[in-house]
Symmetry: C2
Subunit: 254 residues, 2 copies
């Protein structure tokens, strides 16, 4: 039985809580958060507290808070000789070096509280100061996910950067596409199968191989026509830069 406490009540804390609750080999000791209203979602009530100095004994304390609070909160924790980890992609492990036993438990996924997802598929990237604690984190992670990786701070930083490209920026392209549809009274939903297939394709092809479209085939006619079609300067700038970037990627082939 692994005893776990969660600090935080946001999206990551919520999904960790749900995933841990499903395992018979994990005992959630406490959920700790300042926001009393948010704590109500984490039943039973006697296992939640807003008092960060009132921590019960666990094997692992998981700080699932915004990057800005990780260091401050970790330094407030008065527990000793226990493993403290954070869940952040962009925060170095040594932000927790105030505590002798520290590490990282980073679930690489986009979470929203309302969205149900299969946690077994969520990649969990682990790092720990000591081998023993890495083993403990692996045991814990393997109980909730099939995709567990050992990833050190520098690699995690680059994964987090890559995630900004494939998740945040991609979602913004969906938004720009939906704006174009709206302006022309076309339902954005028509594009949904295309969006799903674009994502599905790279499970069997590399994105390099999967690339199609006017910029890929150097079709300057279509590029010129589409640039004329776009009225907003900001949208034109995105179209131009990404087309150039695609052309540069494949230009080496010419």
């Amino acid at each position: 039985m692994i005893k776990v406490s969660i600090l935080g009540t946001g999206n990551v804390a919520t999904h960790l809580f749900k995933a841990f609750s499903k395992s018979d080999e994990i005992e959630i000791i406490q959920v700790i958060g300042r926001n009393k209203k948010a704590l109500l979602a984490f039943a039973p009530e006697n296992k939640t507290t807003s008092d960060f100095s009132d921590l019960k004994e666990s094997d692992v304390y998981i700080i699932a808070l915004s990057d800005n609070y990780i260091k401050t909160v970790s330094e407030q924790l008065t527990i000793e000789n226990k493993l403290i980890v954070h869940t952040s992609g962009s925060t170095p492990m040594n932000e927790l070096s105030h505590h002798q036993r520290h590490g990282v438990f980073y679930p690489l996924q986009t979470f929203s509280k309302s969205n149900e997802l299969d946690f077994k598929k969520v990649p969990i990237c682990l790092e720990a100061k000591s081998k023993e604690d890495l083993a403990l984190l692996k045991n814990l992670a393997n109980l909730v996910s099939e995709n567990v990786y050992e990833i050190h701070t520098e690699q995690r930083k680059s994964l987090h950067l890559a995630a900004v490209f494939v998740n945040n920026f991609t979602n913004h392209l969906y938004h720009l596409g939906s704006e174009i549809c709206e302006e022309n009274n076309v339902p954005f939903q028509i594009l949904s199968p295309l969006i799903q297939e674009t994502a599905r394709k790279i499970e069997t092809l590399s994105p390099y191989e999967a690339q199609t479209g006017p910029a890929r085939r150097n079709d300057s006619n279509t590029i010129t026509n589409q640039l004329e079609q776009i009225k907003k300067p900001e949208l034109k700038a995105v179209y131009e830069l990404l087309s150039k970037s695609i052309q540069a990627t494949y230009g080496k082939e010419l």
Copy 2:
């Protein structure tokens, strides 16, 4: 029984041929293409030809060729009083006005010959010069897809532009993400669940609501750090422009 002839042997022609072949109510009369080797994939052999003047009688002739060839090939066709359509997102319907009966049969999906896909889910965007021919195209499209739309030339043009953003540009962001992973010896596959979830999310949330990340929450600290992390100027430019574009999208809220 609807009689159909396909002009072309590329990705779109291949997927249409497969989808039409599955229906008992569609008879494929002929596949016409210059490339004799490519024609071999379209059995039986006696139904294929490389002679564009040797067309047998069909109800609908589908020109599934590159945009550049649509007009020229359609003007070479000597058939009369038959419906001629193209399959292009960016070509106006009236490129076929050489023929009295003309229209568009645009399947909005990314096709590669090797990739199996469920054609029933592919949105088909229809347009026709006459009501009767629109009805004929609807009958045909409904036999192979559950997502049939009537979309006029201007709307189709904007859909095609939006598709470039959500498909071509999105795939390029996947590629940029994979480059970042490669440079740092992290397997790109770790990001696959995130990519799939990003696409899946917008089936229940608008992309506007689904947006997360440093630019969305105006986290200038992380943005500065990530910009420092990126070495290639071209990659930096993409990061900067898309971050600004996200900030501008949500800036109105402040």
